[in-house]
Amino acid sequence: MADVIARDLRVARVERRITLHKFARRKSTIAFLMALPLITIVACLVVYPALYSIHLATLNKSMQHFVGFGNFEFLFRRNTFWMVVEQSLLFAVTAVIFKAVVGFVVAHFVHNLPAKGQRKWRGMLLIPWVIPPAMSTLAWLWLFDPSYSAFNWVFAHLGIPQIAWLGNPYWARFCVILVNVWVGSPFFMIMYLAALKSVPEQLHEAAAIDGANWLQKIWYINVPMMRNIIQITALFSLIVTFANFDIVKILTNGGPVDQTHVFATWAFTLAIWGNDIPLGASVSLFMAPILAIAAFFILRNVRRRGNEA
């Protein structure tokens, strides 16, 4: 009798384990099916092409046979390539630094205003970020026009010499960076403004009592409190700026004499116009190391932030 009961109990327990197991499996199966479209899109349209471009970079121009590092050796021997490396780094680093500085300063000015008026100013200041970059760059192209430049018209009236904005390599580099700063700094402004809102007002009051001036308040309170956001925003922007295409393509198309090409525009010129897909792929792969480094730090910061919360 006792044996039978014990056996029944065991059976029941086993059965329950099976149903629990089945339940868990069912839940995870449903979850997996729900994530399947995402997995498909990411695998087919992002991961596969990214890996495929590594394979492409090792082929010759007609994509008939394997040349190993041939494309890279060819690139290393070309002056244009080193120019592009230099310009890409100069462009990305300078633009991110200026965007961060402008965004930081503007965020503080907006934060100083009474709460009621802030919305209006924030709304106006974010407009450059909302306009599609291809369209706003056209406006800049027209502002920099060689014969009708509206800036040069102002300069002429102020007695300042005319500037060949996009004709001179140095000014062209300046213009590309300027337009990028114009497009990108509103994003920094919004991020820093959000971070500023989370700095407790008591800290500023305490500092004011201790006799700190505005610069000390910013440097010793705001910067440390906002450090995580400052880093994440700068790294995000570094990735986007480093991979920038629209602005350079429309404003200078790499010219004058390839002086303003960045990796993305040069890869496009080689692959689509020059019909040398493997060479273009090798050029675009040079973006990967910087992206990987930036991604590593972003992920670390985001994780750390997650732990704090």
């Binding site: 995402l38 990214a50 994509m63 994440i232």
Partner: protein, 306 residues
């Protein structure tokens, strides 16, 4: 102990009273300089769009007459009328609109489902997948277009399906940019919904789909709006994919259409280019004007939720 705190508050109170006047004067000064500098920054930020508007109201004759470029002497809407009665520009607009709407709906369905699964229903490898989604968001389109271009040519060779030079191919391409980011911010929004809500739903006998449609989607509506706006802006503004994948005039979308067809050789018809660009920038600007708060919360959610 109580003594010291009492004196501390007393002294700090005294200090505050003593410096009260100077603080308020300081505030007024800060406010004044903030306005001065903000006006300068607003001028810098708004010069290009305002200049677009000024130029769009001019005739070609006035533009080439080298008068004051910052003023319109004979305002006219002829550029707008010309563009809006021209079939070509309307085709670009239609292509852009269809592509954006399709991409937005596709992305939102895919990313809301996936974000729900990743945020609430754990499965093997779900944590890794969530990180992976974030990492794929960081891979730019400038790295992907060459292998995708080659893959599409390869598909054409093998199956005869022509994928290059059709506007609808952009519906396949844009999700590479929108899906990872939207999934990422939706995971953030879903994770912030209290667990008690779904436990209550489970006890009441709701299935997972019901839990998603009855609880998660209604609660996360602000997040969904923010993600939708992001998605729309990205697919409206992308320039690289259409430039690489479409060439014939009737297959172009707005950004590329304006750049390639309104600039004929070295002839720049600036009045029309600026009008086209301004009209092309209008949909995102209108959405932004009405839904600014959602727009901003979408911007900040990407990096602050995690």
């Amino acid at each position: 102990m109580t003594m010291t705190t009492a004196t501390a508050t007393a002294t700090s109170g005294k200090v505050r009273v003593a410096r009260y006047g100077s603080i308020s004067r300081g505030r007024r000064k800060t406010l004044f300089w903030s306005y001065v500098f903000l006006i300068l920054f607003v001028i810098f930020f708004l010069t290009p769009p305002v200049y677009m508007l000024i130029t769009s109201l001019k005739t070609s004759a006035e533009i080439s007459a080298a008068t004051n470029p910052w003023w319109v002497y004979h305002p006219t809407l002829s550029n707008y009328i010309e563009l809006l009665t021209q079939n070509q520009y309307l085709t670009f607009f239609r292509n852009s609109a269809i592509v954006s709407v399709c991409v937005v709906s596709l992305t939102m369905v895919v990313s809301v489902l996936a974000a729900f699964a990743l945020a609430r229903m754990r499965f093997w490898g779900s944590a890794t997948l969530a990180t992976g989604v974030f990492l794929t968001y960081l891979i730019p389109d400038t790295l992907l277009f060459i292998p995708l271009f080659k893959t599409f040519a390869f598909i054409h060779d093998k199956t005869g399906i022509e994928l290059i030079n059709h506007w609808w191919v952009l519906i396949i391409l844009y999700p590479t940019l929108t899906v990872p980011f939207c999934t990422w911010i939706m995971i953030g929004y879903f994770a912030s919904i209290p667990k008690e809500l779904d436990e209550a739903a489970l006890i009441d006998g709701a299935g997972y789909m019901q839990m998603l449609t009855r609880i998660f989607i209604p609660v996360a509506i602000p997040g969904i709006i923010a993600a939708t706006i992001f998605c729309f802006t990205v697919s409206w503004a992308n320039f690289l994919y259409p430039l690489a994948f479409t060439t014939s005039a009737d297959q172009l979308v707005l950004p590329v259409g304006i750049v390639t067809t309104l600039i004929r050789g070295d002839v720049y018809n600036w009045g029309q280019i600026m009008t086209g660009a301004l009209l092309g920038a209008a949909p995102p600007l209108i959405i932004y004007a009405f839904l600014m708060d959602y727009y901003i919360s979408g911007l900040t959610a990407g990096a602050t939720k995690g």
